[in-house]
């Protein structure tokens, strides 16, 4: 794993007396595609806004591409950001947005975006207010990509799209990633979609980081185990329970194994998928902390 594109330390944001994000510690490796997941109000949007410099942190610090995220030209030029509502100027057509991009960015790649929108069959001369939701999302993504960013932050970009538009959007994203040199953090509720494009996962719940790791490592470290209930309390060192369900005699546990930890052999082991693991973490936060 290479250098970290994003590194945060105890990052927090408070609105009045409400903590939207608390003690957030994440590390996102360069070149990865990270899925940022969590229930509503978990602080996903807040975290992304902090990372792009749209808001400033109340506590802690973050380093993005080696710089503090601030509203400054030098910082912004390497970051692409797509807000949740996919904002575009409704009365502008795509060509106006492209001209805007050229005026407001140093490295804006006009050829790239014109070619891309043509390939997608999106008319350049129609006000974006009259395009479909999927087309608008594609215009917004293309605009962010035409900045030639090193880091792309996407806040639930596919939430409002129909399945086909979602598929096309993710295909566009995957292609951009394949072209290389891009780190992506994308938040979403749609776990299946994220699984398709991402190789790194960050789980936020109740304003706190629950998990931040490579998907491969996460899959290796987590096991779904089934065994007699009386043994559920003493599993041994290096094994933490993320989620548990019990019947009268049997317990089903989702556990995380530290490096080298061994399960007692009366437990039956299964490989959970990433969706099950993520849901377990979100459930754990809901129940109020680790067991």
């Amino acid at each position: 794993m290479g250098k970290a594109a994003i590194q945060t330390k105890e990052l927090g944001k408070r609105y009045g007396s409400f903590w939207a994000l608390e003690n957030c510690n994440i590390s996102v490796p360069e070149g990865s595609v990270s899925a940022l997941v969590g229930p509503n109000g978990a602080g996903k949007s807040t975290l992304l806004k902090l990372l792009v410099g749209l808001s400033s942190s109340s506590t802690g610090e973050g380093e993005v591409l080696g710089k503090a995220p601030v509203q400054h030209e030098d910082f912004l030029t390497d970051i692409g950001y797509l807000a949740q509502e996919i904002p575009l100027y409704k009365s502008f057509n795509a060509a106006d947005h492209i001209t805007m991009g050229q005026h407001l960015n140093k490295n804006f790649d006009k050829k790239f975006i014109v070619k891309r929108l043509k390939e997608l069959g999106i008319p350049l001369d129609r006000p974006v207010g009259k395009l479909s939701g999927g087309q608008r999302a594609q215009v917004a993504l293309a605009l962010a990509l035409a900045k030639k960013p090193k880091l792309l932050l996407l806040d639930e970009p596919v939430a409002a799209l129909d399945p086909l538009a979602r598929h096309d959007f993710l295909a566009s994203l995957s292609q951009a990633v394949a072209d290389g040199g891009l780190t992506v953090v994308m938040s979403s509720h749609l776990l299946a979609d994220l699984e398709r494009v991402s190789d790194h996962v960050i789980v936020l719940a109740s304003g706190k980081t629950q998990l931040c790791d490579d998907i491969e490592t996460v899959l290796q470290d987590h096991k779904l185990i089934v065994g007699p209930r009386e043994h559920a309390k003493n599993l041994g060192d290096g094994i933490s329970v993320i989620h548990e369900t019990h019947t009268v005699k049997q317990s089903t546990l989702l556990v995380r194994l530290s490096h080298g930890a061994k399960l007692p052999n009366h437990w039956q082991q299964h490989e959970p998928n990433i969706e099950e693991i993520i849901l377990a973490y979100m459930g754990q936060a809901k129940e109020g902390g680790a067991v």
Binding site: S55, Q71, E73, L76, G101
Partner: protein, 346 residues
Amino acid sequence: MNWFVWRQHRKQFLSFGVLLALFAALLIPTGIHYWHTYQQALTNCAQHPALYKCDDLTNTLFSSQADGFIRIAEVLGTFGLPLLVGLFVGAPLVAREYEEGTNKLAWTQSVSRRKWLTTKVVWVLGFALLYGITLTILATWWSRTLNTVAHNRFVQGHFETQGLMPVAYSVFFTALGFAVGAWFRKTILAFAITFGVFVLCMASFANWVRPHYMTPVTVTAAMGPNSLDGKIPTDAWILQRNIVDKNGKVLNGDLFPEAPQQCQQIIQQAEVQGNGHGGIRVKAVPNPNGGDPIDDCLNKAGFHQIAKYQPSYRYWDFQRIEASIYLGMTALAVAAKYWLVLKRDA
């Protein structure tokens, strides 16, 4: 950034250009017409003093219904256009961005938020400034006939529509709309508040603030029909005129109960006549020396008249003072939006 601001707001800029052109199309021909009519009347009354009176031109000129409509249109336009710029250019400027979330698009291009805001402020306040200047040149030029004939540029409705004021209003209400929009992030709310503040400012400045910019000139005169008028310049802005008793107490309403007994007797003996305007007039038999016995009696008792006025040569001082107040408020509004956009929303 310049192209961007122009592209975003060109419709508003152009619409207001069209409105101003329409307004000019009303004012330029009527302004020329009035000036000619006035010059014509001056020549006429000089040549035929028996037919036309030179000192009475106000009443004979520009008194038709059409003149009334044109005058109202001129006042409404000169008042209204700066307000409309504030409402339709100032109020939605950032409020609409917040509403539609496009501020997040603009702020994540490679331009700092400060530069984005400054460019908008410069463009929009620059536009409001130019707009106010053009408007006031038109309106002030148009008003020269009325100024010459009617003399008083201090009167509410005249003061606000000439000189520096249209410029001050145009710039301030635009800055205000902008700031309130940044504060509440809602166009409709910014619109309503800007409108409310405009009404408040127009009502309160003319009646309660403007009279106090400089200490008014005070004159006193003996009782009598023309004694005070002769001491007040015809083009002055009269703030107050009263009858006071010998202790300087201002007498409001009916003078009769306050008058000394011998004066009350004279008044009671006097003939009561209609004054031809639905009121009444007390007329006593004149004294042998020709004076009015009531006035003579009151003068003896120490009653006199007092007036406070602002002389017309202070007009430009007043314009400067009020324009400075609005300039100060504009500066506050600009500072507020920098704080709101750069600090609160970060």
